[in-house]
Symmetry: none
DNA sequence: AACGAAATTGAATCATTCG
DNA sequence: GCGAATGATTCAATTTCGT
């Protein structure tokens, strides 16, 4: 469903495919309006025979060193131009993903850094079914590289740590992702039965990217939309999307694809939340609400003892302070999470005080 | 053993460690004299504050002076300078490997291309046991990237396709390599018991690089020699090597290491291939299967001797026990990996018993 | 001595809120 | 804007400790 958001002066054409050159189309969009950009730029400019120098003269042969240098210069200029626009469009806490192979990923990564993007991870998409190297002259090219970067150092980028951990059977998600290439019924065909796009990315790849680094309702831009994998997965996941694509043939395939896609229901979209998103509960509230009594003793796993005072501070031996401060002092540690450090005696058992905090949070949700 | 080759006007100081700055030392070497360069330059990590594990222990960060640069401009200038010298030293059909992380690999790759090197593959070293992301703020940084490039487009680089295929159990070697990081017995320690170098690379990595892209007798240069992994593996594999290292402490460790290393014989080379998650093989099986005879002597790198008994235990001086226990006792160490500690005499050479274990595992796989 | 538990460690750009 | 306070967070392999 097409909708528009007004951000400052200009409107944001949500959930549409813009027809045109990505740099020109990006220039028309309002700055600081996009949460995430996913970009799969062309890497084979020098092989297409349509390479132009910055002055628009045509490059003929690309075999000698001089033309090679020109080839990189032209590619770098192109990269610099679209990344500059991309950066302008991103919200301050926005982020970008780019994907490429050894032909272009080093130019992309270097330019990202030079422009001030802050690389968060490089990620390797390890293909479980790559094309072999038929001539036996090199290693099988079995991976592509993605770069995940925030708009600037210090930005508060979105990272759904727990959701990705869940996707990985409870173990922290690593920087190497094993996923099959896009084949079978997922691979879009044109009217002639041939593949509609030469480098269609698998939905599983975008699924992991969008689940991990966006939230529902975020705006995702793909300036090299192709047949619309980014839009399709964004729609399924309840994210808004904008695509830019120059080739009419790709746009047609993408439009039809996106019409077919359905958004997941709300329960499906919910992901494992991080504890960081839970509301803060001051320890003093446990005393105020009578879950703990002043004068009662707390104890740690390793037998340390402290007494609760009426103002929610603790006393132990020679020290007074918050549950965190006293815990850290008793352990000789630089810091300590008092919520997980202390327990209280209840019905003959040690009950972690974090359980009491969860009770309060449950009450807060119900009201 | 040190030897020199005369190439044109200047001599090549084979199998020695040159003390000094890599750029200056490379300038003294004759052009077109090197077959392969392996370079592990500083990564320019740009670490900020301390990082603690969840148990409050402090992570031992790489904060050495040699990794400090004022910014990307300084790092790029450094990269440009040493790559220029590296390219001058390579024979026309020579090649280079560089290794890095997302902090520096994009600068390295872009500069390689700009100078006219021709990238053959990027290779991902997927670490089986990386350090986790303790704060849950990013993906686990579980890989490093290597770039393999010939001196120029069209060069006839060395690629031992069949050898790598053998290393990979008969399947074409891919661009992603799963190898453990360098720990345990292989990790070199200083006099203080601390790691001798913060970023020592595993020998298995260099083994694969050198088997795949050099021939016996080739000259391998490592301009960032560190504690000499490149030299050690080159020596084992019958390649000549040259190391350049600025820090005297690293050179000392490397010299001692290289004195200990022995060149493999051909049989050993064939077997000492891939290390992966392998089934446990009790030492006693080597005796049961006749790969070792009761009464035969084992010896360690530093000349300790022990006799094999029929039950798979060892006897040395005043002590009896497993290969691990006897090794630990002789070293006065609390523990010892007997598999890498002991060798047996075969055809006039010392053969690590780990090679025999690999033979058994190969048989287990085949049946 | 043997086994299992506990401790150690690795190229790391590793926080957010409140006053 | 800045300093202080709160509080969230780890995997695999090896080595050392304890029963």
């Amino acid at each position: 469903m097409t909708k528009t958001l007004t951000t400052g002066a200009a409107a944001l054409p949500l959930n549409t495919i813009l027809a045109g050159d990505c740099i020109e189309e990006m220039r028309r969009l309002p700055e600081a309006s996009i949460d995430l950009i996913f970009a799969d730029p062309p890497y084979n400019l020098q092989l297409r025979g349509d390479l132009h120098r910055p002055d628009n003269s045509l490059v003929d042969a690309v075999n000698d060193a001089w033309d090679q240098f020109t080839g990189f210069e032209a590619y770098d200029a192109f990269t610099r131009a679209w990344l500059t626009e991309a950066r302008r469009l991103l919200k301050p806490n926005g982020a970008i993903w780019v994907i490429g192979s050894y032909h272009n990923i080093f130019r992309l990564g270097a330019e990202l850094q030079t422009q001030g993007f802050w690389i968060l991870n490089d990620v390797v998409w390890r293909k479980s079914n790559p094309m072999p190297n038929f001539r036996g002259k090199r290693l099988t090219n079995a991976h592509e590289t993605l770069i995940w970067a925030s708009r600037a150092e210090g930005a508060r980028y979105t990272f759904n740590y727990e959701a990705l951990k869940s996707l990985n059977e409870g173990i922290q998600m690593r920087s190497d992702w094993v996923l099959p290439i896009c084949t079978g019924h997922e691979r879009l065909k044109g009217a002639d039965g041939q593949k509609a796009h030469p480098t269609q990315k698998p939905e599983a790849l975008l699924h992991r990217v969008l689940v991990g680094t966006t939230n529902p309702g975020d705006v995702v831009l793909d300036p090299f939309f192709g047949t619309g994998t980014t839009g399709a997965v964004a729609k399924m996941l309840g994210r808004d999307w904008i695509g830019i694509e120059r080739e009419a043939a790709y746009r047609e395939v993408a439009e039809a694809r996106l019409d077919r896609v359905r958004r997941y229901d709300r329960d499906t979209l919910a992901v494992s939340a991080s504890k960081r998103t839970e509301p803060r509960v001051p320890f003093g509230q446990l005393v105020e609400r009578g879950l703990l009594r002043p004068g009662e003793m707390l104890r740690s796993m390793n037998g340390k003892i402290a007494k609760i005072r009426a103002d929610g501070t603790l006393v132990a031996d020679d020290v007074t302070g918050s549950i965190h401060q006293v815990g850290a002092h008793l352990e000789g540690a630089p810091s300590c999470n008092g919520w997980t450090y202390w327990s209280v005696r209840r019905e003959g058992r040690d009950l972690p005080i974090d359980v009491l905090r969860q009770q309060i949070r449950a009450e807060m949700r119900d009201t």
